[in-house]
Symmetry: C2
Subunit: 408 residues, 2 copies
Amino acid sequence: MNAPQRPPSAPLRPARRAASASSSIVREILKVTMRPDVISLAGGLPAPESFPVEALRAAFDAELRGEGQARQALQYSTTEGHLPLREWIAAQESARGIPTAPDEVLIVAGSQQALDLLGKAFVEPEAPLLVESPTYLGALQAFNLFDPAYRAVPTDDEGLRPQAIDAALARDARVLYVMPNFQNPSGRTLSRSRREELAQAARRHDLWLIEDDPYGELWYRQAPPPSLRAFAPERTIRVCSFSKVLAPGLRLGFVIAPRECIELLVRLKQATDLHTATLTQRAACRVLASGLLETHLPQVRARYARQCEAMLAALERSMPAGVHWTRPEGGMFVWLTLPAGVDAMALLSQAIERNVAFVPGAPFFAGAAQPSTLRLSFVTVPPPKIQAAVGVLCTLITEALGAAKESA
Amino acid sequence: MNAPQRPPSAPLRPARRAASASSSIVREILKVTMRPDVISLAGGLPAPESFPVEALRAAFDAELRGEGQARQALQYSTTEGHLPLREWIAAQESARGIPTAPDEVLIVAGSQQALDLLGKAFVEPEAPLLVESPTYLGALQAFNLFDPAYRAVPTDDEGLRPQAIDAALARDARVLYVMPNFQNPSGRTLSRSRREELAQAARRHDLWLIEDDPYGELWYRQAPPPSLRAFAPERTIRVCSFSKVLAPGLRLGFVIAPRECIELLVRLKQATDLHTATLTQRAACRVLASGLLETHLPQVRARYARQCEAMLAALERSMPAGVHWTRPEGGMFVWLTLPAGVDAMALLSQAIERNVAFVPGAPFFAGAAQPSTLRLSFVTVPPPKIQAAVGVLCTLITEALGAAKESA
């Protein structure tokens, strides 16, 4: 197609916050992985085979049949979200032992939007914001627009270390952002005792906890410990997504928090996009109310567990000594730590030449990055290709180790 | 339903920007108008009878049939938006004589989201931002979060006055926000010559123009003058919505701007919500590509023209001398100016007691408000009810005028 004649753009002069919004490295990597010859361990996409296509088709169809109902499903609606969907979510959460009312639930257009609203609500320019290290890249992107001064809470093999939250770290901070289940990027899960300690630390230092939980339902053998709301309901903002349990292309998620907090977020969402798509909310509510998840989620969990096993087996089989990795109990990601001196960014360039992609660890750090870390995702790649891709990485890492020894 | 036991919320301590996001008066009024006995001239809802229900049902159904296609429609997609939809929009715009390429188009989750992204992109705290007076309330809400120093560009009966944009008014401003077609709230349309003058003023003072155009397709007898992009394509950011031509519950809109600007907005949208719902974009694209609008829009226009006629006839028939109103040539709103001394906010309280609602003019002003103005919408109310509601307003205004005379 010929591009039409276009005049040059006037100079843009963006606001300072916008000038800092660089395209993420992940976005650039994902473009490479669109090439069909590339085996991508980079994406964060759920397995499309897991989408409940027929249930969704029937639900959209039902919402758009019957004139009166269809016109409601296509009209503007309330910012809080479709009440029956909020009721379903509140009932689910209550059934897990955490009493929740519908007015403690806000429907959002995917959990990334929740992070944007929470950035608007709580991030004061240049004020401290506590995050894990490493933490979810998308949260950093959302919060960056509001110019926080990040403070990294130390982590170890079991995830965030609540004991490390002392008065100095918490000074002037209002919020701590954490992904306790099958964390992106590390795959780690916070133990029950650490959740209790984190709740205590939050009370001690008057911190709100943003609990980002997109993967909690994707456990392999047993459910993770309870939500942070079980331990600090008065100061936990729980962010959830239907992207991994239904489908991401719907852009549907929700926030559970004390009513005062939900009311604040509702005002911000009204200014941000009025409300989440009416039709999508109603169709999703129809699918959820049918009880589909009871049969659907066990299938997704089994699929993801098999995929994770294939990844861990491939790593066991071929990784050279000195490479360490996490053993996730759910979710979509394994986190590798290479021997010091092997740079994951350099490794990526070489891997792409051999048609393998992954995400280097550096962009997941708010503060000082660990350059010898990387994230592998495994849910969309057939096991033989996982094996092949890991084989390529092993070769490259072994070569890099040899080169490092020679130059030493 | 019994509310579950809930602990009191921890103190919220929101960021300064969030504390200023008060619930809009319109939102409060709309709650009142949910009562079935109220005749609401307050809403900005399009007429649900105008939604192309069957075409949308068929399109969603088609997207979710066929396994491979359905899984694509439910998967994550690109931030820019569905390419065939961007191509359709670019072709439409080009066919109107304004050459446009798909990479000059960004799909958004409704035009309110475009305003949020533009606030992020261009509004520097406490820096000047030019707006009409009155202007669209939703734009003020979106921009308020980024703390602009508004400067009101004077308007007259023909809308914004480009001649009034002098060096003093434009000093340090980067952006002017304007709704040139059937403006919300005034119903006014900028003439072709004013558009030319506005483009010249923008060039002279190096301003970007945000052209918000949700209603442009809703003309009654003839199309409005061309988009500002026809006069200043290098510095116009055109914001459009499918809310009024398809249905608002889809939350679907788009931005057309120079590629550099679109690239900036894409980075911001990625941080804000990743992308607009894949399924919705694909279904809408299917409906649009079918040529539905060619038969659908004339019906919507005819309906809205009839509704507007009913409103204008009711006003002519009964309003007392000294009340002035606009005569829109498209869109959804009439703007009333009452005699000085009649306060529209006080009038609203009385009107609600008699089961009639409207929106007072004050919240539409960024600077000094005109308290004796109000907005009437007419597209969803059957003509006999329009007549009845206007009758109530006439009675109340006449009483207020009498009281004002007595106390004078």
